[in-house]
Symmetry: C2
Subunit: 316 residues, 2 copies
């Protein structure tokens, strides 16, 4: 008998909800606005309603649902499913999200940080599913990290572990929102890329980046692909920062697979080739051949399948 | 009934062997020259003889010995107890050390990398024994690392994990023997410290460091303690590199304790205060209060008690 779970990709702006089969197939999907300003009780009640509708529409009996998995931004106490702190969900600090959703739906619920649920999604459904040693990096507005080592989702002593985006790769580098200089997020996030492009506007006023109506990370990568010098310099700096950080994670974790996801991973070969070309300078010879670095193939639905995988991981 | 193990601290020059009780107490201890040039069979046979003598001298019956633990330099396949590669033990690559020692002594034997056995020693007998989230850094000729996360000794997919000394903290920093620039070992090992001092000889010819018969890491720290400018600049650079690296490990692992050992840890307050003072610049506010950074209290016997702890860990 097929097993199903509910995956919820909770975002600051919109929330995606889906019924996911154990092979990662999406049976039914729904997207609702999060509308954080309505207050957490209203938001979660609305999510509960959406789940009921999904079950009705899909004709999957709620008795066949193993559990609900929620991928949430911020720091999560994943033992209790409580949101500890989330910049995108103000006033949710200390909110017992899992127990509230359980009360509304009657289904056991697990909550994880969204970067952790990304790597769990890879572990459950990705190209290298089942690997016991994997590292995930999500490049978006920020840079998230998730680590599976010896088959365990590494969260550390108080659940804050895996903050790979805030490891320092350039001690005299740009100031990050975290308060440090030159951490990976300050060099490889969409925010950082746009900032670097703006700083080039005086030096390279004719760069093709500045003919776009708005500078985005996509504009920078597209310009670099077109041979633009300033954009190429930015891509070189981003991929060097990634190579240094990934080299460090390889020495630390000796993983089998490093998987890159998030919006910026859509830059594709320009991103991955730039990283791969630089790796030998940052990895000891004894590690060569022990790891792969690839882009996630789950991009479009990574959020909901990752959230769904939390349930499979917790019940495994 | 008291339980005993044999701990062997295998060094390039000398080998320390001891009978250790489960509380970490050393019952009987012996030191023999390793004499690697005699060949691995002769070396291991000599160790076997020394173990027999120790048992006779201590009147501990060999039936009370739970196992033998060997802390060895280099890369170890700890499932089989095989030395994969060790710069200090040439020609030992691929040597089945554990099975050879088992054959000679009739006692089950476990082998671990010496930096891993350092953190296992802390886990078994140290100030924070039993902690499930600890990081060890050994500052000596090189910089070794050992990680216990979620109660597991983290060794990674092929046993190479925990190479914390080869993570990069200064991408344009000094060249390391590993081939990279600015990894922790190139800035905080005894070798690196002596090299930095030598480079200062022209700029600061009157530095008190150069009145010592030989420049060692100890001379540098002693000079800094005496107020010498050049030596103080070196200590500042060393402790900054340590603070950046430890900050990175805190974000990655969210450990409870970071413990520093090895010869350089004898620099004491000068080392630890320098690191602690710099930490706030390299750690996100949310991590403050989640970790301690201390010097190992096991220094003198850390090698043999660490080796002994391998047995307790493997049988736990």
């Amino acid at each position: 008998m097929a097993k199903y779970v509910i995956g919820i990709d909770l975002g600051g702006t919109e929330t995606k909800i889906a019924i996911v089969e154990e092979d990662g197939r999406i049976i039914e999907k729904k997207m609702i606005p999060t509308r954080v300003f309505d207050g957490r009780i209203t938001v979660v009640t609305r999510i509960g309603e959406a789940i009921k509708e999904l079950l009705l529409e899909s004709a999957v009996s709620s008795s066949k649902i193993l559990g609900i998995g929620v991928g949430s931004p911020g720091s999560i106490d994943h033992d209790t499913g409580t949101v500890l702190f989330s910049p995108n969900l103000p006033d949710w600090s200390g909110f017992g999200l899992a127990s509230m959703l359980e009360k509304i739906t009657g289904v056991q619920t697990f909550v994880e940080n969204d970067a952790n649920s990304f790597i769990l999604g890879e572990w459950a459904f990705g190209e290298f599913k089942g690997s016991q040693h994997m590292i995930g990096l999500t490049l978006g507005t920020g840079v998230g990290g998730g680590v599976i080592t010896h088959g365990i989702l590494m969260t550390g002593s108080s659940g804050y572990g895996g903050e790979l985006g805030h490891t320092i790769v350039e001690p005299e580098g740009p100031l990050c929102g975290c308060g440090s200089h030159g951490c990976l997020e300050s060099l490889a996030s969409a925010t950082a890329i746009v900032k670097m492009a703006r700083e080039y506007s005086k030096r390279f006023p004719k760069s093709s980046m500045f003919s776009a109506p708005e500078i985005t990370a996509k504009v920078v990568f597209d310009s670099a692909r077109g041979g633009d010098l300033a954009a190429t310099m930015i891509v070189e700096r981003v991929t060097k920062a990634m190579a240094i950080a990934i080299g460090n994670f390889i020495h630390v974790f000796n993983p089998e697979h490093i998987i890159i996801g998030g919006g910026i991973s859509k830059a594709g070969d320009l991103l991955i080739d730039g990283i791969l070309r630089k790796m030998p300078a940052f990895v000891m010879p004894s590690f060569i051949g022990t790891y792969s670095i690839t882009l996630s193939r789950l991009v479009e639905n990574a959020g909901i399948t990752g959230a769904a995988s939390i349930v499979f991981y917790r019940l495994s």
